[in-house]
């Protein structure tokens, strides 16, 4: 056997990582579709639009998610240096920050709702769009949290450093992406408020 079929898995890591990038592209297109939808919809009639000032909690959530990107990167660096305890710690901090993000977003919804900017039964669907943006993004955050928890290592003795780094890389690519995605959505909403 000159070359065992199929065992060039190491090589394939690159191809698999590439699939993650492609997934980010498709996910971004989904949001581009939504935001273009918003623009087309809003442009049709002057009475449409967000017509309200976004609550301040969204600033906090933005801060939290940026901070979590930082801790994600620290986790990645720790993993690369084989400091698995630190890796776990930073991953968990990132996940907790993700939880805070959830909380802030829900608070934001609550504030909007109280102002009468509601999701359903709203004749100005531009406002309903806010909920769709945020909910779709939160779905990504939820997936990101699962990835984070999967990257936490329990048995240090059985860690394959290459695979561990790969997993961290995948997780951090995704996490940074959803961070940037939120900034995109937030800026988009700010510009249209």
């Amino acid at each position: 056997m000159a070359q065992k079929p199929f065992e060039n898995d190491r090589e394939n890591l690159k191809a698999k990582k590439f699939m993650m990038w492609l997934f980010l592209v498709s996910s971004f297109i989904y949001f581009a579709g939504l935001t273009s939808g918003f623009i087309v919809y809003t442009a049709e009639d002057p009475s449409r639009g967000i017509n309200t000032i976004l609550p301040d909690v969204f600033k906090y959530s933005t801060g939290v998610i940026i901070l979590s990107s930082l801790t994600m990167h620290l986790a990645y660096l720790a993993g690369k240096k084989l400091q698995f305890r630190m890796q776990n710690l930073y991953l968990l901090i990132t996940a907790v920050l993700g939880l805070f993000f959830f909380v802030f977003q829900f608070q934001g919804w609550g504030l909007l709702f109280n102002r009468g900017v509601v999701f359903s039964g709203n004749p100005n669907a531009s406002q309903s769009f806010i909920y769709v943006f945020i909910a779709s993004h939160l779905l990504h955050i939820a997936v990101g949290m699962i990835l984070l928890l999967r990257a936490v290592r329990l048995k240090f003795s059985r860690i394959d450093p290459v695979r561990n780094t790969f997993r961290l890389e995948i997780t951090s690519i995704f996490w940074h992406f959803i961070d940037i995605l939120w900034i995109y959505l937030y800026v988009f909403l700010l510009l249209n408020q």
Binding site: A2, A15, K16, F23, S27, I29, G37, Y41, S128
Partner: protein, 630 residues
Amino acid sequence: MASTAIQHTLEHSGHSHDDHGHHHETFLTKYVFSQDHKMIAKQFLITGIIMAVIGMLLSILFRIQLGWPDQSFPLLETFLGKWAEGGRIKPDFYLALVTIHGTIMVFFVLTAGLSGTFSNLLIPLQLGARDMASPFVNMLSFWFFFTACVIMMASFFVESGPASAGWTIYPPLSALPQAISGSAAGMTLWLISMVFFIASSLMGALNYISTVLNMRTKGMDMWKMPLTIWAFFLTAILGVLSFPVLVSGVVLLIFDRSFGTSFYLSELVVQGQVLPQQGGSPILFQHLFWFLGHPEVYIVIMPAMGIASEVMATNSRKPIFGYHAMVYSLIGISVLSFIVWGHHMFVTGMNPFLGGVFMITTLIIAVPSAVKTFNWLATIWRGNIRFTPAMLFAIGLVSFFISGGLTGIFLGNAALDIPLHDSYFVVAHFHLVMGSAAICGMLCGVYHWFPKMFGRMMDEKLGYLHFWFTFIGAYLVFFPMHFMGLDGVPRRYYAFTEFEFMKEWLTVNTFVSWAAIIAAIGQIAFLWNFFHSIFYGKKAVQNPWESSTLEWTTPVEHLHGNWPGEIPTVYRWPYDYSKPGHTTDFIPQTTPFSQTMSSNLPHDFEGNPEAERIQIEWQKKQQAEAEQGV
């Protein structure tokens, strides 16, 4: 949904480390939850064929209604129950039939059945890879597709019937259960099914792109890839860029249907009742839908084009004419297909100036399409043609693509489209250019690569029979529809008995229905041939078509990892057929130039002066020897 993809990429990479070398294959891992791309390809193909048969039977049902609108067929009531009371199909059910027929054919057969089968089979085999980038995601892709099929078919068993707002599911019709019975549970199932379907095609597409870009064997640079691979690659890119937009459209529709929002709904009165939804924009849905919808039609045709190019070069024993032009025209079509969607909306109240822009882009797309057509014709021109069944279907594709593409130019004209829109002219256009052409491409691929998939040959005689039934049948069915459309006969009407001017088309409809039934019967030749040959066909040799591409260097018996030893290296482009000076009329991609000194040409060595020098020296020596010999 697509996020599961990532998760499982991880999972696979996490576990595959342990299952090195020893594969304990059970029935379940070999035939059901297989991660081998060749098996997954077969799964896609057979599921696709079953869906195609179902789609075809649905079309026969509504053709019966259109051909004999006044007649009662008690048999129908036996099978369909309340949907055909008194032996006559009900109007609501007629619309459901048309809708599900369109959905099945466009998405399940010509997208998943076509790309799923041949991208999976050929990308690793023609590029020299052991498997896909992520075999696990690949397997998941098939099972999502399968689930989508099951859910779609399940909608026939709900009380209110399957979705019936057309394959384009325009709201408000699709959004309001009060509007039509199919928009109740049936539409919900349609949407769920499509979410699974889109997840499946995205997972497939991510794999195809990544494999093409990262896992080619040594020597296989992009410009040595067969046109099939170029086509699958660009198709996958179209999918990644357009399907997510359909998701966003569908998500908003789901909210409108079930959560009381009004993205698409406004000022509606149904059965005397004023609905609460206000301020929505139905045009918004059409933009989101057709931004996918138009690329989707190219997602359907491009793999078929790639397959036909490959088969035509092989069976004309000639290099493909204009390889680079073929690639660039595919790229051109891919890019342009994103900026023409408005041609489906010329008469929906879109700004007419915008219509003018879309008209221009639409007409430009005819240019790369024409380039491809002329290149195919030039490829078979004075070729040493072998009329295998695959070759016939490839030629059939070209024929249908021409006759259907020409009418596209009429439709693409914003002014001409005013009378033609939503008439049978459109039905004729897309059934020729998409339906018939792409089905020909798919069948062409099945006949050509059947020996690679199953290790046996299909029967040629039955193949010829099948071809002529299909080819003539399709023209007889769809050609008359042009004239109906020009006369103003609208599509999606249940019967043409109510309007005086349409009555004269009744006989034509009867004729078309007969042609459809006969063409459908002709498909039995294929089904028999296909399933019988899997078990009892003649054993195939390794390279039955004397083709030069890489997949024919693998052993007939399938094995995990495709090549028993090292993956072969590639030295030349895939179309060295009938090269002057060579002993055989094809040179495999794996043959180095040093073994073909008598046929090498100067441009084979562009950019490599050393090789060029050796070649010239060799030629001088040959010449000197020849002169001495005289």
